[in-house]
């Protein structure tokens, strides 16, 4: 199955916290374009990894029927690049709810060193189309 940005869930407290893992392989196609000669994990893929991890965290307590989608991002900042051969840990902790949006604080790390930090929110999306 293509387009999955989470390889494994290490920890999950339903509705509160999740730690997921994404391993980076040189063989992954997106590295060819990002960037040629300098493969680094794109920030938007870190974000999608967090969204998928958050879905897992919320599905564990809400039941399987809600579809959670990315709603907003705040202050997403990068410390260093993550590169092929590294395993990225995505830690997300619940950080409040408002008007149907569930916020998380996220930290992406490689061997304990920070790669990226952000706040992001997901919302339930009903599929009667937008």
């Amino acid at each position: 199955m293509a387009y999955v940005f989470v390889d494994k869930i290490l920890e999950c407290e339903p509705g509160r916290r999740v730690v997921a893992v994404k391993a980076l392989a040189f063989n992954e196609e997106f590295f060819r374009d990002h960037f040629p000669g300098m493969p680094v994990l794109p920030g938007a893929m870190v974000l999608e990894g967090f969204v998928q991890a958050a879905r897992h965290c919320l599905a564990a307590c809400e039941g399987a029927h809600d579809r959670w989608v990315l709603h907003a991002v705040e202050n997403m900042r990068f410390n260093r690049f993550a590169t092929p051969g590294e395993v990225v840990h995505l830690e997300a902790d619940l950080d409040g709810e408002e008007e149907g949006a569930v916020w998380f604080k996220g930290r992406a790390k490689v061997e304990g060193r920070g790669v990226c930090r952000l706040r992001f929110a997901v919302r339930k999306q009903d599929d009667g189309r937008d």
Binding site: M1, A2, Y3, V4, E29, F30, F31, R32, D33, H34, F35, P36, G37, M38, V40, P42, G43, A44, M45, L47, E48, V51, R67, V69, L70, H71, A72, V73, E74, N75, M76, R77, F78, L118, Q125, D127, R129, D130
Partner: protein
């Protein structure tokens, strides 16, 4: 999946404003009926990256410095054509602050404010003529007006 998330540039006012399009298709390997909003963000970031580099003749490599804020009020679906409109709000030698909006037939699917930074020469990979040629070909394919690259 490859990672060029823009299909074509419609307009490029160097260092000021860029408009581009990205089609959403089942031909790309995403799961489900809606295009992941994180990739709508990436399309805006890539448009902003070209815009930022156009201000200095595409001489430096750019990377994402920070996303100040972004919202995704609606989703895009297969068959949609996303219109990307990004403006440079502030520019410095070190980087450019951009604001962008992504719409599908006038409906907003993403908005973001972000900082593109230019990679200092010591952090950029050594110049490689094959990579430079690849980049030129890519920019031509995307209809990015090139003076010299």
């Amino acid at each position: 999946m490859r990672y060029v998330l823009i299909d074509r540039f419609l307009e490029l006012e160097r260092g000021e404003r860029a408009r581009a399009v990205k089609c959403v298709t089942r031909g790309e390997p995403f799961v489900g009926d809606a295009y992941p909003s994180a990739l709508v963000l990436e399309a805006l970031l890539q448009t902003g990256g070209v815009l930022a580099r156009s201000g200095s003749g595409f001489k430096s490599m750019s990377v994402l410095g920070k996303v100040e804020r972004a919202t995704f009020p609606a989703e895009a679906h297969p068959g949609d054509k996303i219109e990307l409109d990004v403006r440079a709000t502030m520019s410095r030698p070190e980087g450019t602050l951009c604001e962008g909006v992504a719409t599908v037939e006038g409906k907003i699917v993403g908005e973001a404010e972000f900082l593109i930074v230019f990679l200092p020469a010591e952090l950029a990979p050594p110049p490689d003529p094959d990579v430079a040629e690849h980049r030129r070909n890519l920019m031509q394919a995307l209809a990015i007006p090139l003076e010299e690259v």
